[in-house]
Structures are given as C-alpha cells and as structure tokens.
Symmetry: D2
Subunit: 342 residues, 4 copies
C-alpha cells in the first residue's frame, strides 16, 4: 500500500466513491477501510509525487500520507548490503574509514603540494582541493579553474592519492572529469538537477554534500538523480545544516549518519570543517563523526591558514591533523571500522 | 571604519602590534583604541571577506566584526531612490503593485491560454509559467522545455502581457531570453553563481527568489552578482524559508519586505503559493504581503488543479483569484501603492 | 480510524498478528489491509500518545501514523463556530478586530498613564503592561511586581479599558487575577504546564503566546491544557518563531493565522513588536496581520522608548501608533472585519 | 571596551555628540574614532542589556555591537579551570566522564529497581527517573509525583548511586530537594526564571538542559541565574534543538560541547535519547558525544520499552546499554578522559 488517503470526518459517501474512482483511474488499486470517525482509502501501486498532490485536492479528503519513501535505487530495500567503492585502489564504505584532506581552495602549487604531502604522511587517503569555488560575494577569490585542476592532478599523481574537487556548472563536467578522480557536488548545488544529471552520465564517482536546508530524504533524492542515470558510485556527506544556532557556522547533524545508514546503502561522510567554521572545533567533531560510524571525514588543512584565500579560519594545521588522524584510527577500531592504511 | 578587530582580554602588546601591521599590509588603515578590558583595532578601507577571515586568525584576536554590508550595488547607500523598472510598458517598483499570475508549469496550450485569459481579466500584469521545472524527484514531470517557452511567448503576445519563466541552467539562458521577458532564478538556484553571472550578462530583467535557507544579506549578494555584470534590472522575491514549522510547506518571512526595502533600492515581491503549499492559505498571505508594502505577488492559478502536473494543491482557481485581485487593489491603496490597471 | 500501523515490507505474518493482538489489548479495534508490498493495521478508538509510541516498537513495525489531531476541545471539530469572548464589554473573535497596546513593562505611573491615554485615544481596545518580566539576564530589570499590577488596574479603570499582563509563576496567579482582566502566558512559558493548569482553574480569560520553537499543534495542546480545566476563554497569539533568519529578532509566521483558524475556533492575535524587535518594521507587520485575518494585534507603544527599561527598540511612538490604527481600521474592513470602536 | 556604537554613514556631528553624552550619562566612558565612512563610539564600563537597547535608538546610530558576553559567573574569564563537582563521591567535570541512566519516567518500583540494577552493573554513575513529567498533552501520564520521588530515593540508596530527577514547578523544589541528589531543569523550563532562582537558592547541584530553541549564550545565561543566587554547582546538557530536520525528533548539536567548553568552566553533558527519539540512533550519538569531549551522557534505559508510559521508543534495552558502556570507556580514554569506575 503506497498511499493512504484520509477522508475528513464528515466526508460524504460520494466523496469516498470519487476518491476510489480516481485512484483506479490513476492506475492504482484502491482499498477502503471505514473507521469509527474516518474512512481511509489505500492506494496500491507505482506512485509519483503528482498522484499524491492530485488526490489531496479531491472533495472530502483531509490529507494523503505516503507509506513508502520516494527514492528507490538509493534505498536499502533496493540494495541491502553496504555499497563499497574502489577508487584507484582505495576502498570506501562498509567497514572502511577514509579521510579526505587538503586545502579549501587550490591557491598555488606550493601550498597544495606541501599540504598534500603532510596529509598523505598523516594517513589521509584522498586529496581535496577546490578549483571552482562558489562564493557568496562576486568580489571574492573564486578559484584557479583549469589551472587548479592541473595542479591537483599532478599532486594526486605524485602522492599516489585519488583526488576530489567540486564541479559547479554542467559545462565544466568534462574538464573536471579529465583531471580529477571524484566529482564533488557542493551543498549549494545539491538540488542543481541538471548538474546532477550531467555527473550521473559520467563514469566518475560522485560525492554529494547535503544542502544547507535539505532533509535527508531530499539528499537521497539527489543521489537518486545520479543513480537514475546509471552512475552507481555515489557517496553522501553531512556538512552542517542552517539553524538558529549562531555560535557555529552551521549545525552539524551527526544523527544523519545512522539515519542514512538505516535507509540507504551508500557511504556517508562528514565535513566537520564547513560545519564548524572554526578550526578549534574540527577535531572534536571529526572524532564524533567517526564514533557515530561515518565512512570518513573531509577535513580542510592549510599550512598557513591566516594567508588562505578561502575559509582559512576552519583549516587545521598539518601537525594538528596528524594528531587527529591517530585518534581517528583508534576511534574507528572501537566501532568496528578501520582506517585505510598507507 | 570597515572592520573592528576585537582583541582577547589578555592579549599581549605584541599581538596588538601584529594586528596593526597586518592591517596595514592588507592595504587598510589601522586605528587602535584601548578599553578597560579589551583593545580594539579598527581597519578602514576596501575590504574583502578574505581579509576579515585572515585577521580573525591572528594570535590574541577574539573576533572581527564587519561594520558595513558586503553588497554595494544592491544597497540603498549606492542608489537611494527606489529602482523602478519598465518592462514592455509595465512599471514595477516604487508605488506600483504588480501581480504575476499563471500556472506553475506550462502543461498544455489550452490550460495556459485559459488561465492566462482569466488572470489578465482579473488584473494580473505579468504572465508566469514554467518550462523548466526543478523537481525533487527524477521521476516527476520536469516541464515542456522549448515547446513550453514557445507557448508562453504566444500567450504573452496574444494577451498583451510580459512573461516570466524560470531558467535553471546556464546553457538555457539564450533560449529563455529568446522567448521570455523576465528571467526567474528559482530558490534552489539563488546561489548558482555561474547562472547568476550568465543572466547578469543579458539585457533581460532578472527575478531572484530567496533560497530556502538564505539570509537577506545572501539574497542581496546574489543580486550583487547580477548587478556586477552590468544588468541593473533586478527584482527580488520572498518565497518562504525552511524552518521547523511543519504546518505549511515553508514559513513565509514577510518581515523580509520592509527589511529589504530599508537596505536596498530593488523591488521586493512575495510568493504566497510556494510558501503556503496549500491554496486555502494563499489569499490571506497575498493580502498580507501587499499590506506589508511588497511590490507585488506571484500567484499560481490553475483552472483544474487536481489534474495539474505540478504543485496543484497550491494553485487557486480563477474565480478565487479574481476576488483576491479586488482586495489587493484596496489594500494597496491603503498603504499608498497602486495596482497597475488594465 | 485513529492510528495506522505501517508494517515493514518484509514483516512476517506473526508480526502482523502480534500488532493486531496488541491493538486489541490496548482497547482499540484493529483493521488489517494487505497491500502489494506492505500490510497496514488500522486501530480505531480513543488513543493516547503512549499507545502510538508503544505500537511503534513492536517487531516488524515500520512506523505508526496518527490520523487525528491530539487536541479535542481546541478543535473546530469540537466547536465549529468561532469563539467570541466578551471581556468587560469588549468583544473578541469572529469579525471583531481588537488592538492591544501599551508599554512593554510598567515602569512608572507617568509612562503607563500617558501611553495608555494615547493608545486609548487612537483606538486601542485593551491596555497591556508587564509587571513580571521574564528576562534573559538575571541582571536586567524584571518588573515592578505587585506595584506594577496596581498601577495597571488603576490605568485600566481610569481609561475604561480591560487590561492584560503576563503571569510567569503559578504562585503569582492569584495576585494577577486580583488586578488584571486577562492573563497572558508568555512564549517562554507556553509549555509551563503547571502554570497552564493553574490559569485554567481561574475564571479569567487567558492569552497564550506561541513558544519560540512551538509547532501550531503544540500551541493548540497548550490551549487544551487550559480548556481541560474548564476555562473556555482562551486566545492565541503568534509572536514570531526562532529560525536562521537573523535580520529580525524572530520570524513572524503569519501563515499561523489562517492555519489556526482552519483547525480551531479560538481567536488568533499577532504580536509584531516582539517578532520584529525593531519599531520600523512594526507597522508593516501589524497591517499584514490584519490583512491575513487576525483577531487583532498586540503592539508595544512607548512615549520615550530610548529611556525604556525593556525592549525600547521595538516600541512605536504614540503618533505612529495613531496613524497605524487608522490603516488597521481600513484593512480590517477589506477582509470583512471591524475594529471595535470607541 | 564593552560596547561599540556604529554611527550611520551620514550621521551628523550632533548625532555623534549626543551619543557621546548619553554614554557618559549612562556611567560609561566614551571613546570616539572617526573612520573614512563611519564614526564609531566605544563605551567602556559595566553594561546592562538596557544600555545597549537605549543607545541603539539614538538618532544617527546604525547599530550597537557588544564586545563582551553577557554572562560573568559562568564564563571561563571568571573561572579559568574546569569546575569539578563532587556529588556523594562521584566526581563530575574535568577529565571525568559519567553516565547517567535510568527509565524516562518512574512508573513502578519493579521497573525502576530492575533498570537501576542493570545500569549500575553496566557502569552508570548516576540514576535518573522522572516523577514530574512535562507532557505535551494534558491527557498523557504525567508522573507519580512524590511517590515517584520516594521510590527514586530508595533505589539510589540501595544501589549506592546519586539520583537526578526533574523539577518543573518552583513549589516542588523543597520536596524534590528532600528526595533527590541533583535537580534537573528540563529543556522546556530552561527559561523559567523563577524556577531557576528557586533552585539557585538550594544547596543541591543543578543540571540544566538546553531549551529547544535556545542559543548557547542563552543556556549560559540560565546557568548565570542559578550561579547568581550563590549555587555554584551547575551542569549543562545539550539535548537537541528544533530545526527543519524531521528525520529525528530534534537535531543534536554536538558542537555545543566544544563551544561551551571554550566559553565556560561548567561540565557539559549530552542527552542522545531525547535528541534522537529512536533507540537505534542512541548508541551512535552517545559515542559521538564522548568522542567530542562531553562530561558524560544521560541515557534512557528500559527493560520493557514497548510497555513504557513515556518515550519508550527512545529507551535502549539493558543489554544494549551494557555494550555501549564498554565502548564509551574506550572512546573516553582516547580523548584523555576516564569513566568513573565502580
């Protein structure tokens, strides 16, 4: 039973009959149950969001409840076991914990390589760095573009690390695919559906960050967009939602980790850096994420954050990152996970 | 004085000195004031978000406060008088109140023209209709695309109404410019910066909806993206924000109307349909918007909403819309505005 | 049918049987419907929140949906017509619009009487003034207590206006009843259940403000607490909720007005002063509230707000209030309401 | 410098002069700095919230920024070292991690004692159980009152555990003090200021839960209420805030732990049970809390949760709690803390 149409308490028999007919007309099978105060009509079959909206408007209908989730390919019901990805030898998901680290933006060859070497040595598995930076202000540094991608590719090759970078425009998908190993969809683009369709048509793994105001269902629907195009290598990332709490940049919703794991087979990462907005909070939140069972964390590291062109305040220093990695390894073991070793 | 750097209560003289030097190095002029418990350093000059972030990280700094807003071209300080647009003879902004109406999506010639005629007759000034619909589910109807744009152009021409439609992809900007009079940036794309830059380079007026989790400052920064490209014809629209309140689809933040009017010269519309998500709430919220001083409202109208392919539950029937227009005219007059007459 | 128990897709026949038995054991009548993928069990009868929680935990149960609202006496189903109160000759609810005005706190005889005379002359129906002020800081002015109540009573008597004042402690209910006509429950006490029970046992009308994070259902449940004690004279008030929006003190949720009117027979007021926190926004929001169909507004007025001991920035000056009253009268008429005349 | 008054860009010299005079009149020392576009006036000295509000309203003033936090006794500046409490031999705060466990409500002697024995054996340090339950519905079970308190005292004595229970009414403070070791202020009463003052006048330690919509500053201000009465034994508890996220009951804001630790010397606990609302999420969130450095967690445990009269769905079973305690011990050690041993 996919939909339950709840009639108003005073609904006429005619109203119920009309709902039953419409359910049939929409290709679903109706089941009517009469309660003491209310009648409900179940509607069994394939449903689309439109059907629910249309039934809600019929005379005598109080509300319509969906019984099943609107996503399919992203659901545990569709694919029961954890999805485990293999990206250039790095295994992601299931019991594997992977830390993605690097500078927020790729600013220069020097910073990228020095931070890259430091995080690699500390045990990070994947190298991050932004070449296209969505910025609130048109007057801010917005990334080096193609030149940044080339630097990232060189750093990944030299360090032997897969690379991840954000793509913000459907027109940039080919060039990003050429240089990077993982395509990141940022929080502000989680519902940029044309971009999702475009990355869904590539063969690159896709890392989708939860939007600032997105529900978990909506995040899974964005994954569904990518999956529906035949690209099954999708990772999700909780990065903080916007709430009234003003002491941090965003509110990290760590319960998203076990909730998504219950509903979906896709690996769930956590981004403590963007959530907190302040480096002093990052280690506590990164450890909390691993303790909550996350597939990993994406952490911004910078060798000279007070000169960074983007989000310096949330970048941790390489030495602090190294100490954090040691704690992450230990916490992962306690919850039955293991950090990919180098 | 653009930034105020607040030192920690125990900050050393060296720390203060370092801040003063860095302020100078960044091209700003420092002013130091010593309080009983704290020292503050003012920094006068052109600032970018990066500067603030960099100063925040220096030793001994507690926090840095920005004194001026980050937008310029969108501000009242830059342009004191209300911006008044003229779009094919329809005057928007200042004392003018304009109602934009039509179906959510363009589904068929028949529905579009019949709804168009009804809203025109009732007094709507601008015809709306979506050809590219961003939908949460990849399995939902996503619009007729170019065919829809052609229908919209024909309806606008026949009815003598300027038209507005959403553009969701930078690659679609040329075709939408060819067929529509106003380019709408939807809530989910408010921070799709490449799209904003693209519409900023056209000569078409742009109608930007506030994102579900966007602050008013962020909405004005999105306007700044368009303005910075030389396109000065920008309208803003409050359409409801995401909050814990679950009884409506979103929470309409009507205080955005007077707040934006105080800070910016750009016209502010209100979208009661998407905010409420239920047609019974639309008239009350539309009237409230006009009473609050909005430049107009954008209202979804459908002749047969329980067959609509998109957002039927929030569409009002033509007869209800006609009655609402009459009340809107009266309320506008009370607050010193006037509805463009036909 | 009061509850719908949705079984998991793979639930065993035994699980369904156990739910059916438990429903019966809890005194409800079970109705089982088998869908293509899921079985649902309806449970008809009187339910309490406990029952729903208990059923949710049985093996094989996916979730339980409540079909009916948890409030009874506050609902339109229980009492279809608008409740209209008569408080010392002032009629509240239905088509009547009443403006409650006065200073935030009662600071002195002089301010209270001068503001009272001004708002009376402008057309306010009810005089407000706080004697017990809940303040975030223990170092803030917290009201004159009993002395303030006496002043309020004298002002009400002299001006011929009913009075309203906040009660924050169950121990203060008798003294507040002695001096004031309407007992206000502030937002921070909306879920102070012992206080609600205490005022429910008096014969005074009760004015309940929505909590900062309260859903409309929770607001109606707080009304239910008062109603359940036999006190049927309850008014509700939307006063802004806490959201991420930082440009105003709170986000006024005006859709609460039509939503509550649909679900409940109780009059709904709006408090634009506390929502906005800034006087310049108050007139726009007050007019919007009346346009949305509210039963009235509660507005803070002060003759010398930059000397006020509490919330001066949101108090409007008497002259501005007088102009606002004139607009309120006109807007009320447009939506079929009328301001009580003096 | 405690306040910074930012003048509008076009403020007249007279306006600045008036601010300077008013600052002096309010007992603060003014410091004027003239920037390129704006003048600012610093105000040094003791400030109250009123002063800030009053200055904001003077002509030519754009806004007023507070440089120092409004709490004093709760701040790290006032008391630099972590506060460590000793409650009947249990040491709380600093490096000590303590788990508080027990049923949500005290329903019967049998359940309380059996759960108490189980959690004691698993390693919980403090026994919880509610005798006065604030419930959304007036028709829900609201606790056994004094009888419950007696049972709790007996269980604590028999098991050798200090006890904690909620007090919801100032009139109940004496009886709760008679029977329990720790007074809990629930989230809905965090701003019940008379209750805070009343518990501040006792000699019992107070455990304050963050309100559903309370900022961290407001939580610390509530602690300040208790501290200001001379009771210095205060603990704080993050228990989830209300956000748009609907997949969990509330959104646990774990960043509150390091943020509060930075600002205050008081111990910070976490309540994963109420935040999640579902037992399957509790272990992940409890471990995350300890990994984030919390002083402990308060966990609801029930031997037969599908018969519980209150919040059964979030109670973990004793066996699961025992396994969780083992993981908590290990995670605590990794972050340099230790669980009080039994």
């Amino acid at each position: 039973m996919d939909l339950v149409v709840v009639m108003k308490s005073g609904a006429a028999a005619d109203d119920v009959q009309r709902v039953v007919e419409r359910v049939g007309e929409l290709g679903l099978t109706p089941h009517t149950s009469r309660g003491e105060f209310r009648t409900i009509v179940g509607a069994v079959g394939e449903k689309t969001p439109e059907l629910q909206q249309q039934l809600e408007q019929l005379p005598g209908v109080d509300h319509v409840m969906a019984i099943t989730q609107p996503y399919r390919l992203a659901s545990r019901e569709f694919h029961e076991a954890d999805t485990i990805l293999d990206i250039r030898g790095v295994r992601i998901g299931g019991p594997h914990v992977n830390i993605i680290a690097g500078p927020c933006a790729i600013e220069s060859r020097e910073v990228l390589f020095s931070v890259g070497r430091a995080v690699k040595q500390a045990g990070a598995a994947i190298l991050r760095g932004g070449a296209y930076k969505p910025r609130t202000s048109p007057y801010s540094f917005s990334g080096l573009g193609r030149e940044g991608l080339e630097l990232l590719q060189q750093a990944g090759a030299e360090l032997g690390m897969p690379t991840i970078t954000e793509v913000t425009d459907p027109r940039d998908v080919p060039v990003v695919c050429e240089f990077a190993d993982i395509l990141q969809i940022g929080a502000r683009n989680m519902q940029n559906y044309n971009l999702l369709l475009e990355v869904g048509r590539t063969s690159k793994p896709v890392f989708i960050k939860r939007g600032l105001a997105a529900s978990i269902t909506e995040l899974l629907m964005s994954a569904e967009y990518v999956l529906s195009q035949g690209n099954h290598r999708v990772m999700l990332c909780e990065r903080g939602i916007r709430t009234f709490a003003e002491e941090t940049r965003y509110t990290l919703d760590l319960s998203a980790v076990p909730v998504i794991q219950e509903r979906s087979h896709l690996p769930v990462f956590v981004d403590p850096s963007h959530a907190a907005g302040k480096r002093d909070l990052v280690p506590a939140l990164a450890l909390a994420a691993i303790a909550a069972g996350a597939a990993g964390a994406i952490v911004e590291v910078h060798s000279c954050p007070d000169r960074a062109l983007c989000d310096g305040p949330q970048a941790v220093l390489p030495a602090r990152f190294t100490a954090l990695m040691e704690q992450i390894r230990q916490v992962a073991a306690i919850v039955g996970h293991r950090v990919t070793q180098w």
